[in-house]
């Protein structure tokens, strides 16, 4: 019989007690009308497909903070090892750090074994880490690569479950992308067809899901070669304004003019261009 005591000694393992408390506090704050800062999420459409010679991974490039686009061109395809890449959806910080941690451990492992790392090893490491954190690390990943056993593609969920499939989609735009895959996927496609399919699937996510947008990045992994195509397709180029709000000199009449010179010495001049893309 399990004892029914509030102060039960918690032997070993993580304790997620504070998460419950935090959630209650957040609910209280919301009741008062304030909102806690939203984590930056990659709303996202990510997908992957296995084709004849390898795998093609695709991702959009929008990162959101609530309803605002925080980054119009972020990179969601992360490096794991020379032959393995991983797309990440969910909380941006979580996907970034998780993939970096596993990439680092995998490199050490690879040096220790003296072999090129296998995709299934990366999958094991990722799923065991995510399961340990019981879903609190919000990272949903599409892991793909080519190793000595051929091309492999895995989808990894935040709670630590994985699926090994020939085509996978993840993210808020996953339903739109999956619709494209279910219609046009065939086993053993050629590279161009596979790239077109992934491009169209991500485009479906970009244009039909508010959480995904901007450009389409692709990563084609074959045995011995990786093509990181960023951007592969600029689906949302910023348009050129047709009108202008600049007025001609003299539009506003000048009544009086008073000039006060400020005597300043230029000590140092440095120019930093802003990314206004």
């Amino acid at each position: 019989m399990a004892s029914v005591s509030v102060c039960q000694y918690h032997s070993g393992g993580f304790s997620f007690e504070n998460c419950k408390r935090n959630a209650l506090l957040e609910a209280d704050i919301n009741k008062l009308g304030f909102s806690s800062p939203a984590a930056r999420k990659t709303g996202t459409t990510i997908c992957g497909v296995v084709y004849k010679d390898g795998v093609v991974l695709g991702a959009d490039t929008r990162a959101t903070e609530g309803m605002v686009v925080a980054d119009k061109n972020c990179s969601k395809i992360h490096y794991i090892s020379p032959n393995i890449y991983c797309c990440g959806a969910g909380t941006a910080a979580d996907t970034e750090m998780t993939t970096q941690i596993i990439s680092s451990n995998l490199e050490l492992h690879s040096l220790s074994t003296g072999r090129l790392p296998r995709v299934t090893t990366a999958n094991r490491m990722l799923k065991q880490m995510l399961f340990r954190y019981q879903g609190y690390i919000g990272a949903a990943l599409v892991l793909g690569g080519v190793d000595c056993n051929g091309p492999h593609l895995y989808s990894i969920y935040p709670h630590g479950s994985t699926d090994k499939l020939p085509y996978v989609t993840m993210g808020s735009g996953s339903l739109a992308a999956m619709a494209v895959f279910e219609d046009r996927y065939r086993p053993n496609m050629e590279e161009e067809e596979a790239k077109r399919l992934v491009r169209d699937a991500i485009a479906a996510g970009i244009f039909n899901d508010l959480g995904s947008g901007s450009n389409i990045d692709l990563c084609v992994i074959t045995k011995g070669n990786v093509d990181y195509l960023r951007p592969h397709d600029m689906a949302n180029k910023k348009g050129v304004r047709t009108g202008s709000y600049r007025y001609k000199h003299g539009t506003t009449g000048v009544l009086t003019k008073a000039v006060t010179p400020l005597n300043l010495e230029v000590v140092e001049e440095s120019v930093q261009t802003m990314d206004t893309s």
Partner: protein, 269 residues
């Protein structure tokens, strides 16, 4: 909210009535909630929705746990066992994987059928596979099916508050032949000649109880399993896809898949 209503009365775990357990989203310890246990095991699809502070822009899949909604089944026959499962994994109302393989090899002639949370059952199966492999090497002989079932039971019982896993362990060993052990949510373990599990099992208890006969042949068991799972998949929303079957015997493991259009046909189906 998820309710686990567990009916016991067997196997000496507890013969006291406890309260229905309410599973809160945060996976902490639930020791401060009084539980009530009753007689049979009902498997509900595990769609745990958590506090969604973000707008409904993002489907809840990041917060919702992936569940193998499931219909699973195992039958003993003379010389081995037949196991079967559907192939649907859901995240809420979305089918995350429509061709899942829920029949997981634990050892050469021991398999487990997984139902409940996908992450939990995958992690448990990986851990037990490791432990059993180690044990088998130590013993230098094929492990017993009962050993595998005990390992599952130990893990599922020890971490019963944190886990949601309903597992059927089935296989063949030289000492006792074909055996089926069921380890439902909560961590009970019992041997049964036929066992069904998962959310779809509720719909086929009557079919299984009325159609099972002791001493069926391998082909009869395969037909029985395929038909039972088809009926479960037809009625349960969380089960579907294809039917995966496997026969485990002294000769080894034979696997087969019955695709959607090849499933047995019933008059109302």
């Amino acid at each position: 909210m998820h309710f686990t209503v567990v009916f016991s009365g067997l196997s000496g775990v507890c013969d006291r009535l406890r309260q229905a357990r309410v599973r809160t989203p945060a996976a902490g310890s639930f020791s401060n909630v009084v539980k009530l246990k009753m007689a049979a095991v009902l498997q509900f699809p595990a769609s745990v929705s958590t506090f969604n502070n973000y707008n409904d822009l993002y489907p809840d899949w990041t917060q919702t746990e992936v569940s193998t909604g499931t219909s699973i089944m195992a039958v003993e026959f003379e010389g081995g066992v037949v196991i079967g499962a559907d192939s649907r994994t859901t995240t809420g109302a979305y089918i995350a994987n429509r061709v899942t393989d829920k029949l997981t090899p634990i050892h050469e002639r021991i398999f487990c059928c997984r139902s409940g949370s996908a992450a939990d059952t995958q992690a448990i199966a990986d851990a037990v596979t490791y432990q059993l492999g180690f044990h088998s090497i130590e013993l230098d002989e094929a492990p017993l099916v009962q050993t595998a079932a005990s390992l599952f039971r130990d893990m599922c019982y020890r971490y019963r508050e944190e886990l949601m896993a309903g597992i059927i362990v089935a296989g063949w060993d030289p000492r006792r032949g074909g055996q089926v052990y069921t380890v439902p949510v909560g961590g009970m373990m019992t041997r049964q000649p036929v066992s069904v599990g998962g959310s779809g099992s509720s719909y086929i208890y009557g079919y299984v109880d009325s159609n099972y006969r002791a001493g069926m042949s391998k082909e009869e068991c395969l037909k029985f399993t395929a038909e039972a799972l088809t009926l479960a998949m037809e009625r349960d929303g969380s089960s579907g896809g294809v039917v995966r079957l496997a026969v485990i015997s002294e000769q080894g493991v034979e696997r087969q898949v019955i695709l959607g259009n090849q499933l047995p046909k019933f008059s109302t189906v």
